[in-house]
Symmetry: C2
Subunit: 202 residues, 2 copies
């Protein structure tokens, strides 16, 4: 974090569908706003499990709307995902551990988009072996090296700590944006969060 510079934390979890839009939008939007970005993967499934919460039950109207909303908004970004994609993604904390490694390598957003291409274009949700492999190979990463780093105890513990911190901060879904201790939930709150980070709210 640079001294005095406004920073926005992008909290995401690999199985979150609307994070697809954010993965494409947040880089340019933060740059345009002059806001520094930090990426924070966490394990949203663990929070849902603890609460017995199912955000998108199969065939529920809210689930159909979720896919339709993403399709409509993706079109505005020039994206043509094949939706609905397989859902839910397998509950595999490993994919968020990989996200952490890729964030440390400075390729967090790149990898997230690569992961979404597997899920939303090739029908391979995060947490499947094929998606893990393909999403890394597409970025010319050494799959085994990334997996070794992802499985390192320190990395696994860091993900658990991030997930506990999410809970403590009041984060309950993804994408979420954190500015100081102010939580903004949902891709459609990206602009609000950026305005807040710039102190340009009112």
């Amino acid at each position: 974090m640079d001294g005095g510079e406004a920073t926005l934390e992008f909290w995401f979890s690999t199985g979150s569908t609307h994070s697809y839009l954010t993965a494409y939008r947040i880089g340019p939007a933060a740059a345009e706003a002059g806001v520094a970005l930090s990426l924070q993967p966490f394990n949203l499934c663990a929070l849902f499990r603890a609460d017995g919460y199912r955000p998108f039950p199969e065939n529920a109207p809210r689930t159909l709307h979720m896919w339709r909303d993403i399709a409509r908004r993706a079109a505005l970004l020039g994206l043509s995902p094949r939706l609905p994609a397989p859902y839910p993604a397998p509950d595999v904390p490993m994919t968020n551990s990989i996200a952490q490694v890729m964030v440390r390598r400075g390729r967090g957003l790149e990898w997230l988009r690569s992961s979404f291409r597997e899920w939303f274009e090739n029908g391979l949700p995060p947490g499947t072996e094929a998606a893990t492999r393909n999403s890394l190979l597409a970025l010319d990463e050494d799959v085994n090296a990334v997996l070794t780093d992802a499985n390192a105890m320190s990395n696994v513990l860091a993900l658990e700590a991030a997930t506990r911190r999410a809970r403590k901060l009041g984060i309950f879904g993804a994408p979420s944006f954190l500015v100081g201790d102010e939580v903004f939930w949902g891709d459609d709150r990206l602009e609000d969060a950026l305005a807040w980070a710039k102190g340009a709210w009112l």
Copy 2:
């Protein structure tokens, strides 16, 4: 509906918290977009009940965020509600029957704002006798006359029909916006729905 003119249907239910923002925003936004507006109250509680769904459990992080989000966005509109307000509002279909009457009298949005002033400023949620009375008196309406119209069998049946239609259309929350058979959910989708209504999507 005027021939050829784009129309947006605003589906709302009196106990929906985010509809507060919409009640203030939708009139000017639709006028600016040149989109005709029609108001459609329905009984969202009945849909939640049928699904065993509780959108905002007490003290859940999503519930705290919901109030915070409304407070932040209300400030942008120059509004200073006293939040959190009592929640949930009593599950009383009558308030949506009153909404229907006020829509027919051409005062739907005015009444919705009046109802929200009782709830978000005076702490009287819709469905309480005091809120019903005050929200109508503030508009110089004859409370007994409105209640008589609201309780008329035809009005009660119309609300039930609207609620069934909501279910059939895939509406699952409020506010929702309907353009043709395209459903947009949430106050933050108002601009998307208006763009869709104008045929200005892509």
